[in-house]
């Protein structure tokens, strides 16, 4: 059974991102090429991995159904914050919080701009609009030298409502070293790190084939990282049907 639940995450977008955006027609345009030319991916003898943890279930309902949030391109241009002041059941947020055993439920979760960071390589986005799968080249530290080598991420995104590829999403990657006391605190948010991938710079990823996006991440230190994918960052995230969305994953870098 599929439930079309209405819930609002008033700002699933990053704090500054909401300003960014241009309406529309714009929203259906394809993404670009990310960052500097990539010569070769990083290699290492013992690559890292997606951090082990429970699978994402934040869009699952107790009766076996799934929360599915339809999107509408027309919502991309709606910047009237008042329009989003209605129904905010927070169902997906609540479920997401409880589904992530790495972070206690409650606390400041409702005030976070993103859903919880997830484990593994597959999940729904924080608003249950999209299904997201990712793979990568070996997860290695970037290495030294004048031309650091990235890990190339490939993310495939489909619309949950009908399973079609999410095209033209101008997908971007945000990667940062996880900060203890941020993602695992009562005020879980995973937004306090200041050790970011400064070589990635939030450029749109290359799309191809449709619904599949590729781009680099430079891990410049070992440890726990968060890799967050942003979809339709160029859309206002005011209405619940906005295409704007995110999905973030824990990654262990050796």
């Amino acid at each position: 059974m599929i439930h079309h639940r209405h819930f609002s995450r008033l700002i699933a977008g990053s704090p500054l991102a909401i300003l960014a955006f241009t309406p529309l027609a714009a929203c259906s345009s394809g993404g670009g090429t990310s960052g500097s030319p990539i010569t070769s991916a990083a290699t290492c003898s013992s690559p890292g991995q997606p951090t082990p943890g429970p699978a994402d279930t934040h869009c699952a309902l107790d009766d076996g159904g799934m929360i599915v949030q339809p999107t509408n391109q027309a919502s991309c241009t709606v910047a009237d914050a008042g329009a989003a002041s209605g129904d905010d059941g927070g169902a997906a947020d609540d479920a997401a919080t409880s589904a992530d055993s790495g972070g206690p439920s409650g606390g400041g979760a409702d005030s976070c701009p993103y859903g919880p960071t997830m484990y593994g390589q597959e999940s729904d986005d924080d608003d249950c609009k999209y299904h997201v799968k990712w793979t990568s080249t070996p997860i290695c530290e970037q290495g030294g030298g004048p031309a650091p080598a990235p890990v190339i991420f490939t993310v495939t995104v489909t619309n949950k409502v009908d399973g079609t590829p999410l095209t033209g999403a101008a997908t971007r990657i945000e990667a940062f070293a996880t900060t203890a006391g941020d993602w695992d605190a009562a005020t879980y948010c995973d937004t306090k790190s200041t050790h970011i991938d400064q070589n990635n710079l939030f450029d749109p990823l290359h799309e191809g084939p449709p619904g599949t996006y590729k781009g680099p991440v430079y891990f410049d230190q070992p440890g726990q990282w968060t890799v967050r994918f942003h979809f339709f960052e160029n859309c206002f995230d005011v209405l619940e049907t906005s295409p704007h969305g995110h999905a973030a994953y824990h990654v262990t870098v050796p």
Partner: protein, 130 residues
């Protein structure tokens, strides 16, 4: 002073999907005040003052008209220290990436090279309430 146009905040450099990728990259690269590099840790020996250096800049370039109650991005309020430091990562990512403030938000909102470097330095040096 209003940061955002009444039609909503404009598209920042590097984000307008109507702009070819090549032109977008060129435009960003050509902006002299938007150097994409973080300050070194050695810069943390002299962290800018939040009250004297950062607050005025953030209010002018981020808060006024947008990231404040009643602004276009009211639900991403950056109007005081607590709210600003609640979501540091995306602020740092997008300022460093020249995504924010939006390039066509107007000259009043633009970050000067020194202001931008001070903000980045403050962000990577622990964002003290100094």
């Amino acid at each position: 002073m209003t940061l955002c146009a009444s039609t909503g905040c404009p598209d920042p450099a590097g984000n307008d999907p109507n702009v070819p990728d090549e032109a977008r990259s060129d435009a960003v690269a050509a902006a002299p005040a938007c150097l994409r590099a973080l300050p070194p840790q050695s810069a943390c020996g002299a962290v800018p003052s939040y009250a004297n250096d950062i607050l005025p800049v953030v209010h002018r370039s981020c808060v006024t008209g947008c990231h404040e109650p009643g602004g276009v991005a009211a639900n991403q309020d950056l109007s005081n220290y607590t709210k600003l430091t609640q979501d540091l990562t995306p602020v740092l990512t997008q300022v460093l990436g020249c995504v924010m403030p939006p390039a066509d938000a107007g000259p009043d909102a633009a970050l000067g090279a020194t202001e931008r470097m001070e903000l980045l330095t403050w962000l990577v040096c622990g964002s003290p309430d100094n």
